[in-house]
C-alpha cells in the first residue's frame, strides 16, 4: 500500500487543515493500514509531549497599551543604536529615532564629530596593536616554558623506564643463574648415579666371570 501518498493528508488532518475530503481519505486508508493508524496515534501523542515546552517566564513582557507603546519604540531604537553604534560610528553614519521616526544619515558629520571619531579609531587601533604586541611577546615564552616542561617530563619518564628495565634484567639474570646451578647439580647427581650403577654392574659381571672361570677349572 502506498502510504506515502497519504502523508500530506495525514499532516493536514493532524493539524486540522485539509478539510473533510482529506479527513475522509485518511480515514479510509487507515481502515486497512495498521501502520498508518499507529503512526497517526504516535504523532498525536508526540504533539502532546511537544506542548510541554513552554516559554520561560519573563521572556515576554506584557504588551504595552496606548501611549505606553511609544517607549517601546524609543527603547528599541536605543538598543539598536547601542548594538549598531560601533559599526555605524566607524562608517560615519548617524541613526536617530525621535517622534518623527527613524532617520539614518550616512557619511561623516561635522568636523568636530569626525575628529572625535578619528581619535577614537586611533585609540582603539593603538590598544589593538598593544594587545597584539603583548600576545606576540607572551606566546614564545609560554611555548618555550611548555616545551621545557614537556622535555623534562619525557626525560623523567625515560629515566624511570631505564631503571625498571635494569631491575628486570638483574632479576632475570639472578633467576637464570640459580636455575643453571640447580640444573648442573641435577646433571652431576645423575652422572654420579649412573657412574655408581655402572660400577656396581661391572663388579657383578667381574664376580660372575670369576665364578664361571672357577667352575670351568673344576670340571
Amino acid at each position: 500500500m502506498d502510504c506515502e501518498a497519504f502523508r500530506e493528508d495525514m499532516l493536514d488532518v493532524l493539524y486540522g487543515e485539509g478539510g473533510e475530503a482529506a479527513a475522509r481519505r485518511v480515514e479510509t486508508h487507515q481502515t486497512t493500514c495498521a501502520d498508518c493508524r499507529r503512526e497517526m496515534a504516535q504523532l498525536r501523542k508526540l504533539r502532546g509531549d511537544l506542548a510541554h515546552w513552554g516559554l520561560p517566564e519573563g521572556l515576554i513582557a506584557a504588551p504595552a497599551r496606548g501611549h505606553e507603546r511609544r517607549p517601546w519604540a524609543l527603547a528599541a531604537a536605543a538598543g539598536m543604536v547601542l548594538a549598531l553604534g560601533a559599526s555605524l560610528a566607524l562608517s560615519g553614519a548617524e541613526v536617530r529615532y525621535d517622534p518623527s521616526g527613524f532617520s539614518v544619515r550616512l557619511g561623516r558629520g561635522t568636523g568636530e564629530t569626525r575628529a572625535l571619531l578619528d581619535a577614537q579609531e586611533r585609540r582603539h587601533q593603538e590598544e589593538i596593536d598593544a594587545l597584539r604586541a603583548q600576545l606576540a611577546a607572551a606566546r614564545p615564552t609560554d611555548q618555550d616554558a611548555l616545551m621545557r616542561a614537556v622535555a623534562d617530563m619525557i626525560r623523567e619518564s625515560e629515566t624511570r623506564h631505564d631503571a625498571a628495565i635494569q631491575a628486570s634484567l638483574r632479576d632475570l639474570r639472578q633467576r637464570s643463574d640459580a636455575q643453571r646451578q640447580y640444573d648442573l647439580a641435577r646433571v652431576s647427581a645423575g652422572l654420579a648415579y649412573l657412574d655408581g650403577k655402572a660400577g656396581l654392574q661391572a663388579a657383578r659381571t667381574t664376580e660372575l666371570m670369576g665364578h664361571l672361570l672357577q667352575a670351568s677349572q673344576q670340571k
Partner: protein, 197 residues
C-alpha cells in the same frame, strides 16, 4: 473593530508612524517567542527580535500590498535568526579549539541526565533538547507549525519554499523528535495504544 495588519501597513506607508507601534504591540510576543525557540537564549532572542523590528521598520515603506504582513515579518525574523546562529557557529568553531578535554567533561557532568530530567518531570527541557538537535530547516518548520500555529501556506511563504517542502521537513522533523524522545525514555510515541480498525 481593530484594523488589520495590512491596513496598519497602509497607514504607516501613508505617514502614520504610530501604526508601526500598533504592529509591534501585536506581534512582539509571537516574534520573540519563535526567535527564543530557535536560538535558545533569552538575551539573543531579545536582540534578534529588536533587529527584526528594526529591519521591518526600514523595509515597511517598500512592503508590497499583495503580501501577507505576518509571513513577511516571520521571514525577516527567521532570516535574522539564521544570521545569528551562523555567527554563533563561527564563534563556537573558534572557541572550541581552546576547550580541553577536562572542560568538555566538566560540561558533560554539569548537564542533568535524561533520567534526572524525567525524574523531575521536566519534559519541557527534554523537548527543548530534542528540538535543538534537529537540523535547522526542520526545526524552523516544526516551531512555526507547532508553537506559532501558522498554516502550511503561511509557513511556505515565511520560509519561501514550496508547500510540499514544508510538509516534508515537518514530517521528518516530527519523526526525529519522536525517535529522540523515545531514546530519552519519554513514554510517548512508542507506547501509544493503536486503535483498532
Amino acid at each position: 473593530m481593530s484594523p488589520s495588519d495590512e491596513e496598519l501597513v497602509a497607514a504607516f506607508q501613508a505617514g502614520d508612524v504610530a501604526a508601526f507601534d500598533t504592529l509591534v504591540g501585536r506581534w512582539d510576543r509571537k516574534i520573540r517567542g519563535v526567535i527564543f525557540r530557535l536560538v535558545g537564549s533569552h538575551e539573543e532572542a531579545r536582540d534578534v527580535s529588536q533587529e527584526t523590528f528594526l529591519k521591518a521598520y526600514r523595509a515597511l515603506g517598500t512592503f508590497k500590498k499583495e503580501a501577507r504582513f505576518s509571513s513577511w515579518l516571520y521571514q525577516i525574523a527567521v532570516n535574522a535568526t539564521r544570521d545569528r546562529l551562523r555567527r554563533r557557529r563561527r564563534r563556537t568553531d573558534l572557541s572550541l579549539e581552546d576547550v580541553d578535554e577536562s572542560a568538555e567533561s566538566a560540561l558533560r557532568d554539569a548537564s542533568p541526565s535524561a533520567f534526572e530530567l524525567m525524574e523531575s518531570g521536566d519534559l519541557s527541557r527534554l523537548v527543548a533538547a530534542a528540538m535543538a538537535a534537529l537540523p535547522e530547516e526542520q526545526r524552523e518548520v516544526v516551531i512555526l507549525k507547532e508553537y506559532q500555529g501558522l498554516t502550511f501556506p503561511e509557513i511556505a511563504d515565511a520560509l519561501d519554499v514550496p508547500l510540499s517542502t514544508v510538509k516534508t521537513r515537518l514530517y521528518r522533523g516530527l519523526g526525529q523528535l519522536r525517535v529522540r524522545l523515545e531514546r530519552q525514555g519519554v513514554r510517548g510515541a512508542a507506547a501509544v495504544a493503536v486503535p483498532s480498525a
